[in-house]
């Protein structure tokens, strides 16, 4: 490993590393709602949701962040065994309806090496754009992945 492992990884910055296509299924949204204990009727109550502003059940905003491929695959980081999530951000732009097809395009936004309290760490920022099958942006987000020596 070089003194600064990030130097040898700059070639992956800006690369699209995963394209995930997912049809939004009612059962998957229901499972997300149950797992997160979400009582908002727009996400599960068909009658309330149909009468609401979206005209039907939509996915909770944070559901978008589950449509992703994880950390960049097939990259030899040379740094630690696992990535852990150090942070995340998400900007939902429009509701995601049951039956929508969402295309998530993930890129590596940056790779830097830092000195933390527990030693050196590699910090990988990812960025994801979410679009529906009509090409409309439905949101964007990203993760901060941390690998420790």
């Amino acid at each position: 490993m070089s003194d600064d492992a990030a130097d040898s990884l700059q070639h992956i910055v800006g690369n699209v590393y995963t394209v995930t296509v997912r049809r939004i299924e009612e059962g998957e949204v229901a499972a997300f709602v149950e797992a997160t204990e979400d009582s908002n009727p727009f996400y599960s109550g068909r009658d309330v949701a149909r009468a609401g502003r979206w005209g039907g059940v939509v996915a909770p905003p944070m559901y978008l962040s589950t449509i992703r491929g994880g950390e960049p695959p097939r990259v030899e980081f040379g740094f630690g065994r696992h990535s852990v999530v150090g942070g995340s951000w998400l900007e939902p732009a429009r509701p995601v309806h049951i039956g929508d097809v969402i295309i998530a395009v993930e890129t590596v936004a940056s790779v830097v090496q830092k000195d933390g309290r527990a030693g050196k760490m590699l910090v990988i920022e990812t960025a994801t754009e979410y679009r529906n099958s009509a090409g409309e942006a439905v949101g964007q987000g990203g993760f901060t992945l941390i690998r420790r020596e």
């Binding site: 997160t36 204990e37 009582s39 908002n40 559901y63 962040s65 852990v84």
Partner: protein
């Protein structure tokens, strides 16, 4: 859902708190739904290799709870426009997390009120394990 804002939001308003318990069942459920199958979310030994005494709660699960905190406070017309979180420590399976926030900014856009909120999550012993910010629109 937690207590909703009864009046127009103002800087300094408190959002929440709500307390969530990441049980093993809940975390496994979320891991499957989110396709986050890293072993340290459900396996003691894998968690211990990261220095954690118990499995680690998915960051996405906590993020979903923060979104609920905001929507519960603002009411059904609330939309989370941006949520940004930074982990300050590990949230462990079996440790309750108290989530709350404080309104830091209020502005107006056509028929909506847009609020900026500072967020934090704490364990029962008072450790802040996660903090962040959110922007949300609520009905004016």
């Amino acid at each position: 859902m937690n207590t909703q804002a009864q009046e127009a939001p103002a800087v300094g308003d408190i959002v929440g708190p709500v307390t969530r318990m990441p049980t093993p069942r809940r975390v496994v459920q979320y891991s499957v739904v989110a396709r986050e199958l890293a072993e340290f979310h459900y396996d003691m030994q894998a968690a211990s290799r990261l220095g954690a005494p118990r499995p680690i709660v998915n960051a996405g699960l906590v993020a979903a709870w923060f979104a609920q905190l905001i929507e519960g406070w603002g009411g059904l017309e609330t939309q989370v426009r941006r949520l940004e979180l930074s982990n300050r420590g590990m949230n462990l399976v079996g440790d309750a997390i108290e989530l709350d926030g404080v309104v830091k900014s209020v502005s107006f856009e056509s028929s909506q009120t847009v609020v900026g909120i500072a967020l934090r999550g704490r364990t029962a012993d008072g450790r802040t394990t996660i903090s962040g910010t959110a922007v949300a629109s609520v009905a004016a």
